[in-house]
């Protein structure tokens, strides 16, 4: 195989790992709370600013800045739930979408006010590695491994803990949960914190690859939503797999054409899938 095509595929898989985290977070929150966080990519953006600020402005060691980013964005998820989502739980879905969409603009505006529109870079990079005939970016490989580790921790949490099992249960049947001694409101709050923490982890992995600016969410937000819809909204495994598919499509599309072309291919593929499989690629 053409080593450059192979390199594009490998890069696509690495990219898919990073897309997978926000897709998992969005699907988790949607599955449990039944509300789409339209501002999800902006939570990631705030996390990226948090890392950048702590590392470059306050001089924190990078691991410490990463470590702080997760709880900060988790807290943001909790606040989003308490202040915006919970009051609208009984409202029509369109109101919920509009409200979380409003938070999207609010966060973009707030970051513009505080940090202006400059592109901020962490200025860290790991040397590329040569594997066989191809070169792989060390930074991307490290980000990929961290994303897989995050996904594995999430899986273990959902599979083995009481709260995780209740999260999987509540996604199917809200009404009976109190009969099991489960307070649904508490599960919503926990899912929102975990969804926020996943956005925080995604922020750590993206901030080493992309410059931060208030509108950086636009470069991965739309694709995250496409991934979730392709995988079946609320279907965590479907979203996880679709992330890799999308990563490869974007990367290989970019190999044959420009980056813009790769997004055209990805959107085209998305439109075809929602017509062919409206309930998601992996729906039974």
């Amino acid at each position: 195989m053409d080593p450059f095509l192979l390199e594009a595929i490998v890069n696509g898989i690495l990219l898919g790992g990073v897309f997978a985290l926000p897709a998992l977070g969005l699907n988790l929150v949607f599955g449990v709370v039944d509300v789409v966080w339209l501002c999800y990519a902006e939570l990631v953006m705030v996390g990226m600013y948090a890392v950048w600020f702590l590392y470059t402005q306050l001089g924190w060691p990078l691991p410490l800045a990463f470590g702080a980013c997760l709880p900060v964005v988790a807290l943001l998820g909790v606040l989003l739930h308490l202040l915006v989502v919970r009051p609208l739980l009984a409202a029509p879905p369109i109101n919920q979408v509009l409200a979380t969409g409003g938070v999207l603009f609010l966060l973009q505006g707030a970051m513009t006010l505080i940090f202006r529109t400059d592109f901020r870079s962490l200025g860290v990079d790991m040397p590329p590695m040569e594997v066989g005939e191809i070169f792989v970016s060390g930074t991307k490989l490290a980000a990929f491994c961290a994303a897989l580790l995050g996904a594995a921790v999430l899986w273990a949490f959902l599979k083995f803990t009481y709260v995780g099992t209740a999260i999987r249960a509540i996604a199917r049947d809200r009404e009976v949960m109190p009969l099991m001694g489960v307070d649904p409101q508490r599960i919503y709050l926990i899912a929102s914190a975990v969804g926020g923490a996943l956005a925080g982890l995604a922020a750590c992995l993206l901030v080493v690859q992309l410059d931060v600016h208030p509108f950086v969410g636009l470069s991965f937000g739309p694709i995250t939503f496409m991934i979730c819809v392709m995988g079946g909204l609320g279907n965590m495994l479907g979203g996880f797999l679709a992330a890799f598919l999308m990563g490869i499509i974007v990367s290989v599309g970019g190999f044959w054409g420009t980056t813009e072309f790769s997004y055209v291919v990805a959107f085209g593929f998305f439109i075809v899938t929602i017509f062919a499989r409206p309930r998601g690629l992996f729906a039974r």
């Binding site: 099992t165 249960a169 109190p178 009969l179 099991m180 489960v182 307070d183």
Partner: protein
């Protein structure tokens, strides 16, 4: 086997867990479904609630487990007023409710369903021991522990739903039509099970359409019609009552 259901963690309260409803009114929005229901279940008793479709039997159980708040009347369990207790705290007080149509989590395994049933902090500490007791009671559940609940037969799912409710070590078990939709031979198994559960000393309040069968396992029963208690009494009296025989027992 005799200890299978003796899973209570907390000592019984002095009043022993009498369930008392008096003058309960309840409904859904503007629609009133229950009109002044009074009902009493003593510890260790098995009590039936029968009546036609839409009489309010399910609504009554939902009021007891806090899913619906009464608009009037009082609801007490073990002397404690439940009017303000959030529903998710009731399992820890010893009230377990097996809902109509079982409502298992079909995409979780049998054991995971039991795990959700043991969600309360007090129940988690006793998970392994209570799970093993449920498996003693239903050996089939042990064989199927890693099977997805939704792939089991109706009778097996009912066992799993009852097992899930037992995970909180209840003092009273509310059963909503456990025999609905099951083959006659499985219906018999379910009633045998209810008999065993009550022989273990667990208090049972059971809603059934299967009047002839349920009157054989309960001590007393209430007949509910359009949200009111139309009759109540000992099972033997009700089974002999001509009006009841005509309406519910095929008139023989």
């Amino acid at each position: 086997m005799s200890a299978a259901l003796d899973t209570r963690a907390a000592p019984q309260s002095p009043s022993g867990g009498t369930l008392e409803l008096s003058g309960i009114h309840a409904g859904y929005g503007d629609f009133q479904a229950l009109f002044g229901i009074s009902l009493r279940v003593e510890p260790g008793e098995a009590v039936g609630v029968v009546g036609p479709n839409g009489a309010g039997k399910t609504t009554l159980l939902r009021v007891i487990s806090g899913l619906i708040r009464p608009t009037a009347g009082t609801l007490r369990f073990g002397g404690q007023d439940l009017a303000r207790t959030p529903p998710h705290q009731l399992p820890a007080l010893g009230i377990a409710h097996v809902p109509e149509n079982r409502r298992l989590f079909p995409h979780l395994t049998v054991e995971e369903n039991l795990k959700v049933g043991a969600f309360s902090p007090a129940a988690r500490a006793h998970f392994a021991e209570r799970r093993d007791r449920v498996y003693d009671l239903f050996p089939k559940m042990k064989q199927r522990r890693h099977q997805l609940a939704g792939t089991m037969s109706g009778g097996e799912q009912q066992m799993c739903a009852i097992g899930r409710a037992l995970m909180c070590a209840p003092r009273i078990l509310l059963l909503d039509e456990p025999s609905a939709g099951l083959a006659p031979i499985v219906v018999k198994q379910v009633f045998d099970l209810v008999r065993r559960i009550r022989e273990e000393g667990l208090t049972v309040l059971i809603v059934e359409q299967n009047v002839a069968q349920v009157l054989r396992v309960v001590d007393r029963a209430y007949v509910l019609e359009t949200g009111r208690v139309a009759a109540e009494g000992r099972s033997s009296e009700l089974a002999a009552d001509p009006a009841i025989r005509r309406s519910y027992l095929g008139g023989h």
